[in-house]
Amino acid sequence: MAINILVVDDAPTMRKIIIKTINISGDYAGKIFEAGNGIEALDILEENWLDLILTDLNMPEMDGMELINNIKNNPDFAKLPIIVISSRGRKDIKDDEQWSLITQYLTKPFHPEQLRDIIFSVIGEEYAKVSDDEESDICDF
């Protein structure tokens, strides 16, 4: 079953890289949405069914933590898995309560394989059956 993914990052090139990694790492992605900040992300969330969110933290208008707080405070979206992809260290997450809102954390710079593995760890093993051909695409990226 395909999953719908939202990629939130104020850098268009980073969004492109993340989406490219998602597309070449398997056939699990249905629709992939993009947003440049937390406000755009919330608009997309209101209008579309999403199964996974990947978000940066340091963004204009509404940063990643505020976005995550907004999502988790809404009972309709509270169970949505969220992967944070950020150059900020883990110590930037203030406390255990904030940590509990994040499903997984990936630090930039990252290798595409790391992003792929973290996504699979969140969406489940049934999506992680990568063919040999797809594996070589990841290595060539």
Binding site: T13, S87, P109, F141
Partner: protein, 148 residues
């Protein structure tokens, strides 16, 4: 973090990000072609706690093109100049984030900015802490750390 090690740590972070994200490595060979100053772009990033640090990165267009081509895997004609110029903000963002992780105290990081070539942070009260020149594939990146 002591001022004496700031540039050493920043250089380490820049080298790491350039090699892991952009597949470009620091060179020991002095570039023979550094490009003209009119092709230079200057990016700044402010980090603050009690004091304020300003990181300044000066790159020429040729280095920026190389970085974005390697990062995206796209051809030069698939990327327009504005995408490239904006794309380097992500480099500054990732360097800044990794750099502040090395501080014992929590530092806030602003969003990267592109500044006018004629602007000098010293006119706004910043004082130079350290500066260096890094060589990548025959191109130069000038880096300065200033504080207020």
């Amino acid at each position: 973090m002591q001022k004496s090690v700031m540039m050493k740590n920043l250089t380490y972070v820049i080298s790491k990000v350039m090699s892991e994200m952009y597949f470009i490595f620091i060179s020991d060979e002095e570039p023979y072609d550094s490009g003209s100053s009119k092709d230079d772009y200057i990016y700044t990033l402010i980090l603050e706690n009690v004091e304020q640090l300003l990181l300044e990165f000066k790159l020429n267009k040729r280095l920026m093109d190389m970085m974005l081509l390697n990062f995206t895997g796209m051809e030069l004609d698939e990327l327009d100049d504005q995408e490239i110029i904006n794309g380097i903000k992500e480099f500054v963002n990732v360097v800044g984030g990794n750099f502040i992780n090395m501080f014992k105290k929590k530092m806030d990081m602003k969003l990267p900015q592109i500044i006018d070539r004629d602007y000098n942070p010293e006119q706004d009260g910043y004082k130079l802490v350290d500066e260096t020149e890094l060589w990548f594939d025959n191109q130069i990146m000038n880096v300065r750390i200033l504080e207020k």
